[in-house]
Symmetry: C2
Subunit: 321 residues, 2 copies
């Protein structure tokens, strides 16, 4: 048995440290990344990925914590990936994660991982997909992908999910803000968290109103669930809404269609990655061979026309092939 | 005179709306981007780029505001680029920028621009460099590049600056935090802002101590300047420290060396951009031609080996050239 095979076997058996190591290797673009993902691939495809996003302060972390508890009670193995594009740190504990990690540290059925930008050379959404694949391979039935903020990077990350849950809370114009930021369009279900606070009904009404307008003709109208992570209420309802969405996807054929489309997109993306890696080396070399490079250094020539010459030279070779 | 020539002429004359339009075109990767930057290039290279970063709450925005006033009184034309990687918005007013923009709206010698991630397909640091080139071309003597936060993206953006000014303020462990986040290493000068508050001396001492350790052997030891944007104190001193740094760079030969190195890096980067753009189209096409693509869709094959086949096919052609 090769070292890679032994490593793969340990990951498949759900060995926590091996899983953590695999994730780090993938995040750091270790040369073993592609062979490893390739070896794990046949053992993936069964996990359900639920994305959880929403404005900061909506209490997403506590909600995820409650969801972990709920799913564990149902005997499910749970993976959690907390993505924070504003944090430079990757791999360790993030925000409230230290608390969560300690709480679930002895539970062999829970895998929690934080991801910031440091070390994520491949971009957050690609890294997320790769980490999800590892969590899928190690036996997770459900993978919760939680984002900290609501920027463009977070929206991108949500594309890896099968369902997206948008969490809001009673607060002035919260739903309206979410709408502006482009989150509403990607929601498959809504959770109004902190529903123990006054104003929860208003938020529900606001969302329903927006849905009346935007999802009038849609086959799937996102359910709006009231919850309170503080009082541990509504968690089962969130999960039921998510399951309902999965049923909708499967019955409509969208489940297979989406996964197949994503797989196809992935081929192109990985191929692009491989090519860019290869091209970059050649590019440096070729650039140094050409006189235009020296001319740019001396400001005798602009970098744009020089770059075009370099690119055309390299692509010209390609055309001849 | 072609349309592009007319546009370039308006930018060079400092026409505010044309400058704003040019920046938008560049940020949105409009096809005119490269020809435009190429045409502007001969008119660039004279502006001094001062990066301003530091922890949130240090009062960077107000400090930049004071610097604008100071530089305007010296008759300098000033460009400001405020970069916020956590904001999805680009082009408009950002945080306190609306106030600043209104204040300087009638001043033809000030150009202020905010940049978030939306529309910045090329990445913030590349976009920053391109925007700086436009501000340089339109006649700005000084370009202040301000970041909102302190993440990795902000550090990357700072690479476009000739000098980097790190702003701290009296607050528990602020300097230590900055050190951890990797900001200290890129600092060419330090500003302890809000020095009207108690504890300013402590921060100064903390920084000096760190410099004693980290810059012991360095030819340039970053000066530490106390300032108060509220009381408009220390602004002249900041500028003098920046000028001192420029003199150091020029006398040591680092100024030319750095700019020449950056120009060379830029050629490779732009060439890579052109190649990726070209390759991506071919890639999609080639992927669809190959049977492996359909196999991945049906899960008969993993995307990694399929991607390798696609990449090798494309690169193999390249090898033959």
């Amino acid at each position: 048995m090769t070292e890679l095979q032994a490593f793969v076997r340990q990951i498949l058996s759900g060995h926590k440290r091996s899983v953590a190591r695999a994730i780090s290797l993938v995040e750091n673009e270790d040369p073993i990344k592609l062979p490893l993902l390739e070896a794990l691939y046949p053992h993936t495809g069964t996990a359900y990925v639920l994305g959880i996003t929403g404005s900061p302060g909506a209490g997403k972390s506590s909600l995820v914590d409650r969801l972990i508890q709920y799913l564990r009670r149902q005997g499910k193995q749970v993976g959690v990936l907390a993505v924070d594009p504003t944090s430079p740190y990757t791999g360790g504990a993030l925000l409230g994660d230290r608390v969560r990690m300690v709480r679930h540290a002895t539970d062999t059925g829970v895998y929690i991982r934080s991801m910031g930008t440091r070390g994520n050379l491949g971009g957050l959404s690609r890294s997320s997909r790769e980490v999800i694949r590892i969590l899928d391979a190690c036996g997770c039935d459900v993978i919760l992908v939680e984002t900290v903020g609501v920027g463009q990077s977070e929206l991108d990350v949500m594309h890896v999910a099968d369902s997206v849950c948008v969490v809001l809370h009673p607060g002035a114009g919260d739903a309206v803000q979410a709408f502006k930021a482009g989150i509403m369009e990607i929601a498959d279900l809504f959770v109004v968290n902190k529903s123990d606070l006054p104003g929860a009904e208003n938020v529900v009404a606001e969302i329903e109103e927006m849905l009346d307008v935007s999802r009038k003709e849609a086959a799937w109208r996102p359910p709006v669930v009231k919850a309170s992570s503080k009082e541990d209420r509504g968690i089962g309802e969130i999960w039921e809404a998510a399951e309902e969405h999965v049923r909708y996807l499967q019955e409509s054929g969208l489940w297979d269609e989406r996964r197949s489309r994503k797989a196809a997109e992935e081929v192109v993306e990985i191929a692009r990655e491989l090519i860019i890696r290869d091209i970059s080396a050649r590019l440096e070399q070729l650039a140094h061979e050409l006189s235009c490079f020296e001319e740019v250094r001396n400001r005798q020539r602009d970098p744009y026309s020089a770059a075009r010459q370099v690119a055309e030279q390299l692509l010209g070779r390609l055309e001849l092939g």
